[in-house]
Symmetry: D4
Subunit: 166 residues, 8 copies
Amino acid sequence: MNELVSIVMGSDSDLEVMQECADVLKDFAIPYSMQVMSAHRTPGKVADYAAAAAKKGIKVMIAGAGAAAHLAGAVAANTILPVIGVPLAATLNGFDALLSTVQMPAGIPVATVAVGKAGAKNAGLLAVQILALSDSSLVKKLEAYKSKMAISCEEKNEKLQEKLRK
Amino acid sequence: MNELVSIVMGSDSDLEVMQECADVLKDFAIPYSMQVMSAHRTPGKVADYAAAAAKKGIKVMIAGAGAAAHLAGAVAANTILPVIGVPLAATLNGFDALLSTVQMPAGIPVATVAVGKAGAKNAGLLAVQILALSDSSLVKKLEAYKSKMAISCEEKNEKLQEKLRK
Amino acid sequence: MNELVSIVMGSDSDLEVMQECADVLKDFAIPYSMQVMSAHRTPGKVADYAAAAAKKGIKVMIAGAGAAAHLAGAVAANTILPVIGVPLAATLNGFDALLSTVQMPAGIPVATVAVGKAGAKNAGLLAVQILALSDSSLVKKLEAYKSKMAISCEEKNEKLQEKLRK
Amino acid sequence: MNELVSIVMGSDSDLEVMQECADVLKDFAIPYSMQVMSAHRTPGKVADYAAAAAKKGIKVMIAGAGAAAHLAGAVAANTILPVIGVPLAATLNGFDALLSTVQMPAGIPVATVAVGKAGAKNAGLLAVQILALSDSSLVKKLEAYKSKMAISCEEKNEKLQEKLRK
Amino acid sequence: MNELVSIVMGSDSDLEVMQECADVLKDFAIPYSMQVMSAHRTPGKVADYAAAAAKKGIKVMIAGAGAAAHLAGAVAANTILPVIGVPLAATLNGFDALLSTVQMPAGIPVATVAVGKAGAKNAGLLAVQILALSDSSLVKKLEAYKSKMAISCEEKNEKLQEKLRK
Amino acid sequence: MNELVSIVMGSDSDLEVMQECADVLKDFAIPYSMQVMSAHRTPGKVADYAAAAAKKGIKVMIAGAGAAAHLAGAVAANTILPVIGVPLAATLNGFDALLSTVQMPAGIPVATVAVGKAGAKNAGLLAVQILALSDSSLVKKLEAYKSKMAISCEEKNEKLQEKLRK
Amino acid sequence: MNELVSIVMGSDSDLEVMQECADVLKDFAIPYSMQVMSAHRTPGKVADYAAAAAKKGIKVMIAGAGAAAHLAGAVAANTILPVIGVPLAATLNGFDALLSTVQMPAGIPVATVAVGKAGAKNAGLLAVQILALSDSSLVKKLEAYKSKMAISCEEKNEKLQEKLRK
Amino acid sequence: MNELVSIVMGSDSDLEVMQECADVLKDFAIPYSMQVMSAHRTPGKVADYAAAAAKKGIKVMIAGAGAAAHLAGAVAANTILPVIGVPLAATLNGFDALLSTVQMPAGIPVATVAVGKAGAKNAGLLAVQILALSDSSLVKKLEAYKSKMAISCEEKNEKLQEKLRK
């Protein structure tokens, strides 16, 4: 089955963080692809890939990049699909990647999530939330996921209570 | 017809900026509602409203707030719908609202856009992009919108060329 | 005896820092509870817990969270008890947690302390200072604590003088 | 009747902002004093005043200052009363005042609120919340205040709905 | 004569600032073009234009943009000509544009100058300095320009001395 | 053969980062020199060296420095050659070096690149791009370099695809 | 009588702020000079002037500059006199000038004061404090100045008390 | 012989950094004292100590502190001696200590140096520069120190040249 979500990242060194994103999609059994392509080193490929994505059946694009992080913006410039941007931290603590990703001009939105791993995971979840709008099985899975998070949080609390009672 | 997009904002003073968002939805003929509710002043209402939104047929939620901007996060905590956060600028140039909106913990994404009016407009467009995944008429409108933006950009360039020739 | 101070934190990974807070309360023999609950993962629990706290005899609430740290604000939205917020450092050096905690809108104060362990300790002390307003035994303990701090500071100075004389 | 809350500010130019604080206390019928004194220009007075405050029956101290805002810290160093710090904005957008006020070392808490007018108002409310712990009439007033805020928020929403219907 | 320097800007609202750049080139009698094109609204045009620039005889490219300022990077990705980036200030004081422009990944340099008008002027001068490497008449003009700046600075000093003597 | 590019750095501890710059020039077979000199410790030498550089046949100057990084500005003040500044990270994450290098006043441009190693490498490449304007063999090498970067990026992608297929 | 304090500024547009500095010196009857000279436009003059200052009897040098504010550092590099740096605010709120002035490398101190007018005034006072170490008449004046500040602060307080009584 | 320079620091954990300051004074054979005292833990001692310093023959005071670093300001509030502030880095990279130290209000200067060890060393040197105004032997030593720095810088350069020749 063709991918519904396309994950792109600017460098293979971004894989460790962006894997969080892929793991979420795998958990929700959503077919995805993951690719290295660079807004600066392979700009034509990014443009072509983004422009062709919708026709290939891709529904959501996720782009992770650091520093002057243009990848998400470059993708968004070439598609009308929703594009999610994950700012990755490097020299300036990720402030540069965050501002480069989120401060898009009017007309070309990038749905930006948090810097680093939490953001990468949330990018995956946001993609699932978007896909769930036309797939009711995903709605149930998301509700289950949300419940499980709440339960896991309560279990952590219970463990803490046990620890405190000792 | 019921709204597909729900816009909420923390205060009526946010209306001027968030109107950008509504204007985009109006342009795309997407039914929307716009409401003032506050994560801090009416937390129960926000929680109930967010929790009930999906059943009312709402597909995308947009929340605009300033300072310690919790509104988008509070909405996201109570729904599995995609939530778009618009950080609004106040005392600290909008840095506070941006970080409060985008730095969400793993599990609860908020799709954050730029600070201020550009962000508000893009929140509307992002909602349209999401809705377009299951509405091919919106795909065409988005493609037309994108073309029009490009053409408008080229026209501005032509005007500049005329000006330079003088 | 029921707790007078309630410490909540967004994740069990926050325990190491928030323990500083608990240690202070233990030193002052103030009954406290410590719980994991999340503004985003268990929002209803946070709201219910905060809303019920005053009736259970809780006098002061302390909330520690990182990133888009909404926990203290979510507690404050649901109680009229004084709420102390402890910003915890993560990706962006704690700037995000600090701004998300302190920049509360008019009407819903959060008494914010420093980022990290110094802040966690001070949150405990601030709670004691508040409780001391109606408990004169605490006044004496606080005065003793303050004297001890001053003496410890002077002792460190004396040790330095010894070291310098060598 | 003697003041229960003491408001101090570093300069008379801070009055416009700090008046927000006084107005809240007036609304709650809490006796307060308001004074200009400076951690740098009249340090002895600040120290003496803070040291004597508890004996005069003052319960909560509020200090507003800008730039390298030391006033709240200087007060806190000389009292065991709870001290609330209001960072005031000047050249560096209030970042300097915020960090100078909130980043207190372990042992000497300052309950810091938001930069500027929202913070000044919240400082007043936080003082009321603290006093309400031993004054049940204030509890009722705070509950009423909170309800009124919620109602006002809903009214703003209704006005917006009317406007949208037109 | 064909242009040697190409100035591009993301929006016609950037013209006021980027005119500083054009004025410098005019002063040095260097043929230039000035165009509006956007990395996000007309990405293909930017790529094609940048890729074709060298063959048209363009020697230096200057790109001015604000917010998530990708224009200079998008140009640099598509040419081996030296590219100068001018960050323009908007919501976040230009911090976003500065970081988006300067923090380019290894392999794709953008010669970044100061935020705003000083930067736009310096972009023009930097282009002249580059062109002067193979045009000795420009060397003389640059030396004269530098002398004139020094003299103007000294004249300002003399005026100040006169004023002080009064 | 005399150097065409002169690399200067404020301290020998900057060598590790600035070596990236030298390595690029070596790859392109461009003669360069590398020297330690300090805008603050040997200001006269910096001034003299910069003033004499053009006559020695130097075409481009690169200066790397950290903290209150004045070296690039001090060089630029004394030459009309293009000067590239590399901000080096130290205590404040390189924000200080970045702002000290890039925010030059009108009249004295410094072509600033990214903080740290990526910037140092790009400084070398920018120098090559400038030299290539009058050396067509460098044009070919730069084009090959750019192709190689693109190919390397695609190879990384292929490796990722292999990994994903397993 | 020759000047004891030399005030230099990078541009005549800095005069309005730096006048605060001159006014303080005038109040203390300390002979001073005030000059426009630029670390970047007239670097040789700055170096020569700083190098010759001690022999002319100058005791303290004050340098005010904005943006990549190198003037104080350039002066300090060429003299062993104490140098006071005044960061002036421009595009980036003065953060750039502050970091460029204060983050000097080991070996070359610049005594940095606050951004803008408060800093300019304090630069003057710091110079007086330094000169007072060998001029007991200045000691008395400084003590009187300090008393007057305290009294003025108390008078403002009294005016506030009057206002509050009404 | 009595100390001419007094170094104070807020905590004994600051000793490692502030030792840089003492080492410089030792090198210049200037008698100094070094003490731990805290603006917040022993405010009275700081005030008394600062107020008495001039009479004891102290000429320059140096204060090092981190976070909401008030020590230098507290000293400056109580003396007319020149006060040098050394911001020490902690949670927020030293930004908090820098702003808390440098942004002093008009009337109470603190001569602020760089964050951390470079600043501590420069604080010592700045003290020597101030003392040298009335001690010609120090002038010679400072000139020798400056020459030695220049020579050491040139030696580092020579070592680099040797390394490059290999």
